[in-house]
Amino acid sequence: MNRRDFFKIVGTSAGAVAAAGCGQAPERILPHVIPPDNLVPGVPAWFSTVCRECPAGCGVIARNREGRVVKLEGNPDHPVNGGTLCIRGQAALQGLYNPDRLRGPIQRDTSGERSIKWEEAEKFLAERLADLVKQGRGKRIVVVGQLESGSLGRLMDAWAGALGAERLTYEPFNYEAIRHASRLVFGRDAIPHYALEDANAILSFGADFLETWLSPVQYARAFTRMHAFRDGKAGTFIHVEPRLSLTAANADEWVRNVPGTEGPLALAILKVILDEGIQAPGVDVALLRAAAKSADLEAAARQSGVGSETIKHLARAFAKAKPGLAIGGGVAATGADAVECQVAIHLLNYATGNTGRTVRFGPDSAFGKASPHAGMVALTQAMARGEVEVLLLNHANPLFTLPPKLGFADALKKVPLVVSFSNQPDETTERAHLVLPDTHPLESWGDFSPREGVVGLMQPTMGHVVDSTGRVFDSKAVGDVLLSVGRQVLPAPAGKGPFRWQTFAEYLKDQWRGIAREYSPATPFDQFWEEALRRGGIWKPVGAVPVQARGAPLSGKPATVEGDAQGLALLAYPSHRFYDGRGANIPWLQEAPDTMTQVSWDSWVEVPAETAKKLGLRGGDLVRVASPHGAVELPAYISDSLHPGAVAIPIGQGHTAERLRYAKDRGANPIALLSGQAAPAGLPFLSVKVTLTRTGGRRPLAIAQATHDQDDREIAQHVGLAAARELELRGAVPEKASHPSMYPDLKYPEYRWGMAIDLDACVGCQACVIACKAENNVPVVGKEQVAYGRDMHWLRVERWQEGKPAHPENLFLPMLCQHCGIAPCEPVCPVFAAYHTEEGLNAQIYNRCVGTRYCNNNCPYHVRRFNWWDYSSPTSRSYAFPEPLPLQLNPDVTVRQLGVMEKCTFCVQRIIAAKDAARDEKRPVRDGEIVTACQQTCPTQAIVFGNLKDMSSRVAKLSRSARGYHVLEELGTRPAITYLKKVTREPHKG
């Protein structure tokens, strides 16, 4: 695919001219008819919008080149994510350009399925609805949709209200338990805002806030601020979880408990605090004592497998933090006792004076607006009874996310008309009678409020996706459809009635008049609107609302887990890459390794080593995992660290929908093992015990990392907190002369680009990996190739572990081209395809490469990637960019051909662009002006890029840090990347 082919279809929605097939055919270039404002071909335009990959609502800016979005970046002004994005946010682009995206409305009945026109589809739907409404059976219409906390949500409410329909907001992970507990303890039906950055110690009960919990990007940023070593200070993070999750691996202290015992543990800690009298002054001790009445330290220690000394230590460490922060979540804390657990956590925060400081009601999370799981259970029952006649699904896939045992699939058969607004094929959409594909969020108007006081504004960042053969993805915004159908159902004179707006965009703007009055009454609306569009929304600080604690009854008993008494508790946890499964058909996400296991493409069951030994399992052996409610078959991943009483399976894989080419039949869905019955805490993900049997089959996993053992090579290094402080005081060691070169040092006339990566900040989230793939047109190669060491990632996040395998110290290391000053790869290239630029870049000239691959042999870091297959030519079988994925390709970066070596360039295209801008202004490049794609997206800002020659630049300062070192320094390669050692805390003895 020619990355610049799109030049010729600039500004034309028709895109009438087919790409010239071979080189000799005349190529057409099409000018604009009427040039759109602020779009100059070749110059990027940026549009702000909101990421809708999960309900965290991060602000996004989209880079539009020649009418197509080529890269997403975090909106630097946005209060949630502050310019950074997570792995899923980065990958949203491949949702936009997904080759399996639906191309238009579909009608399906017993005779099969067919494409229909929008007018037809809307008319069909309107007629059915009108019939029901006329008969006064509007209640038999149900709208189920993902969390929409903005105008679309209000429109849906209004629409449902006008038609007399029911409406449910369905999020598979809705954190009901927190909401429930808040109601019990503080009388507020809300999920508070957690200010991690202000805590000195975080005590987390299973909350995977670096992966999926509530707002992972925001929390990762906040976590770094509280935790990363700065000026000799660093906060403490204690994590309680049976499984060594990515979040647990980042904890200073990971406490492995028996699954389901978070509640008793929290309560026991509360009791210790009360017994030792180390609670904050002024709290209602009597209330707390009453609550902790049933707490029993020894019993909790026994049940949880956590020693009583450790519990006491946790209590003291937490209480003395002032403020600390206790949080609870994750799947391990979603058992039957989840509400009790959350109550105990709320009380812990209350007891140590964190409420109002690090736990803030007021800026409540949007998650509090999701309907409880009980609503879905009730809906299923109603459907089964035949009480639902029209079911409208807005980005909800209950057939995948609800346990089959609940019977949703059968109930769905009883619904005469199922309408799905999904623009991707999925399990539920496959069963819908009418599919009305919504526009992708990046093509849509809309807004989203992730918490009180923040409203992100969404605008189309490009026109409708048109692939390079000229086929349009004929989608229509769900808001537009609702308005249009609503008007047909309840006709009203123009400009009147509940659906008087012609388009959803108009409705949105109208809604924003209200927002303008609330946020900025003095500004004229047009100005406010334009500013909001530019800024990406509107936000204001919302103070903490004072809350009064109330007593709550607590049993202090661990969660009950049903199933075979000899079985292992099932931890079905949300995948960091696929969330609830909605990202599974995004090839980037499939190919990005799970950091802890380094598995890509497949799904697995994490089996504790003890059980594996008993069953004679090796990694990759197929295992049948059976619960009372179902069974799945998955390859085993043998874990030394998982609690011996548990097995863990990530949620997100196991799709069955026919048209999901990347996700179909990949792994299995552990939700099939759950009962699905509503508990007070919603759907209990921790509720069953499973038994494992070896099937005898094998399906080896694609694991990128050969070993997590560094074999004493000091690749990822760490230093104790005390030692780090000492180093800090002593200052940097002068530039080492320990690895002299035979040759004089190279002179860099203007710049020498370099990078500093703080391993203390890196949490291993893989966002940089996808940002790099997106920026640099890195192809996706598939499971077999990854398994065989042929992945193409220019940047990889390695996980190294030290210490006891059951309880290791984990180190995350982003490894990319080190741009060595004395690069071993360069002199071996026979044709100068690899050479050193005057700015210290280790350049790789793809079109000069003949593919001897000598450079990668000689690269001690093996960061060079070879095009083993032809990923770039559309006629090749291994083509990596099926339509319309080529639209995403960065026009500033070559798509590499078959047989050439490629690697990280330090985003040389960004360097060139920044130098160009600087030259316009006749000045040198400023520090911080060049931001590489990986640095840009890093939620913890672990990566800093800049000019090493400028002694005042951030990167130069960091490179001189006393914690700095080079990987494999002894080889004398003099890398331009300095890693800063991770700061580890002294382990607690007990």
Binding site: R713, N857, Y861, H862
Partner: protein, 444 residues
């Protein structure tokens, strides 16, 4: 078998016996040719497939960016050393026993280098641009990187091939003239053209002899340099187990070792099928056997040095690499190398073994296997466990690369089989030189 007692051949006998080898071949010859031809076709098809699909068709991966192709490249270059060594060095040392085998050995050299030369092309990701390694003025104003060992390879191997071909051809000249004079019709025309009008005049002989000596003295340092340069492909790299000053002599010795084994593999059947016993006697085999033995012992010494330095240097990477090679996934190949290269040749201490053709043949084959695996062990396991544990990995050959490697043997044998039917595989002139001159007065 013992042909020692045979009558001393005359000059005319030599001409007759040698030219007899060029008679129209037997059905068996065609049988062999078609077998080899079929294998070669498979190899060519595999290569075509690889060019079409990409290097992914071969089993390479990170970290084994090089594998069987470079193994075979070094192997064939090594084989290509014996010929020039026998022609040049033994010529300079006036080792008379070389005369009846050097022609075959030289042909082997030329063909082995021609085989070896294919591998860098087969190996390159974009072989269609391989000419960029040549220094030629171009409109890009770009030149190759003369600091790269691969460019040294280009120079060393093309020089070696050129000089070997020239040396080979110059040696053939008088013999071609002899065939010309013994043949008729179109054959006479072709051989006549190839003989360049050689008549064996005193003027021709005097320059020829002088030049031949000069060729020998140029080829001697060349032959040593070529495998040194090839060894630098590895020694100049950083990879543990590669980055060693030992490599040049180690490779040169190994090359001679495997080259002699290949010579034996070729001439033993030749002697049998064409009844060349008067010319290739057991004395020759004995001398070759001794050389194989000596080079094997030297090689063993290098092996010991290699292992010792890896251990004694205390270098963590070197040690880990050696330990891994010897005990993990590729241990079988590692120990096979020692059995074939260090143990098997020890039987040649016995004179009986040195003159017992089946034994000699088996040892030679083992040596060839061992030497192929020696290079394999340097490359594949060496890369598989280098500096960076993240990327450690195991290489699995595919059908494609295996077929290509086997095809390369077919390519070599098809060239050699072709050669022995069109050119004298024993030097007419030099065999005659070893015979007593025809004199009238016996007591002269």
């Amino acid at each position: 078998m013992n042909q020692e007692a045979a009558r001393q051949p005359t000059y005319a006998d030599v001409n007759r016996d040698v030219i007899r080898t060029l008679e129209p071949p037997s059905p068996m010859y065609f049988g062999w040719m078609s077998v080899v031809g079929l294998i070669l076709t498979a190899g060519i098809l595999a290569w075509t497939y690889q060019i079409y699909m990409g290097m992914g068709a071969a089993g390479k991966r990170t970290p084994q960016m090089w594998a069987m192709y470079i193994t075979s490249f070094v192997f064939w270059i090594g084989i290509g050393h014996a010929g020039t060594l026998i022609s040049a060095i033994l010529y300079l040392f006036r080792a008379r026993w070389r005369t009846s085998i050097f022609r075959g050995a030289e042909a082997m050299t030329v063909f082995a280098v021609m085989t070896a030369g294919l591998f860098p092309l087969i190996h390159a990701g974009r072989m269609w641009f391989a000419y960029w390694l040549l220094p030629y003025p171009n409109q890009r104003y770009l030149w190759p990187n003369f600091r790269s060992p691969l460019v040294w390879d280009v120079f060393a191997i093309s020089t070696y091939l050129t000089i070997s071909v020239v040396f080979f051809f110059v040696g053939l000249l008088p013999d071609i003239a002899a065939i010309r004079d013994a043949s008729t019709g179109w054959k006479k025309k072709i051989y006549g053209a190839l003989a360049l009008g050689w008549e064996g005049t005193d003027r021709q002989w005097r320059h020829y002899r002088r030049a031949y000596g000069l060729f020998a003295s140029l080829a001697t340092p060349l032959v040593l340099s070529v495998h040194s340069v090839v060894s630098w492909d590895f020694a100049m790299a950083l990879v543990p187990g590669w980055h060693s000053t030992l490599f040049a002599p180690f490779f040169v010795n190994g090359a001679i070792f495997s080259g002699f084994a290949m010579v034996l593999v070729l001439i033993i059947p030749m002697r049998y099928f064409w009844n060349l016993y008067p010319y290739i006697t057991d004395k020759h085999l004995d001398a070759m056997g001794k050389l194989i033995l000596v080079t094997s012992l030297v090689l063993t010494y290098f092996y010991v040095c290699e292992a010792f330095t890896a251990w004694y240097s205390g270098d963590h990477f070197e040690r880990a690499s050696l330990f891994w090679k010897a005990t993990k996934s590729y241990a079988w190949a590692f120990w096979l190398q020692y059995v074939c290269n260090s143990l098997a040749p020890l039987v040649l201490f016995s004179k009986r073994a040195r003159t017992h053709t089946p034994t000699l043949y088996v040892v030679s084959i083992l040596v060839l296997i061992g030497m192929w695996f020696e290079r394999f062990n340097i490359i594949v396991p060496g890369l598989g466990h280098d500096f960076y544990p993240y990327t450690w990995g195991i290489y699995w050959p595919t059908v494609t690369d295996t077929t290509i490697v086997i095809g390369s043997f077919a390519w070599f044998f098809i060239l050699f089989l072709g050669f022995i039917k069109v050119m004298p595989s024993v030097s007419i002139v030099e065999v005659k030189e070893t015979l007593p001159h025809p004199v009238k007065e016996a007591h002269h």
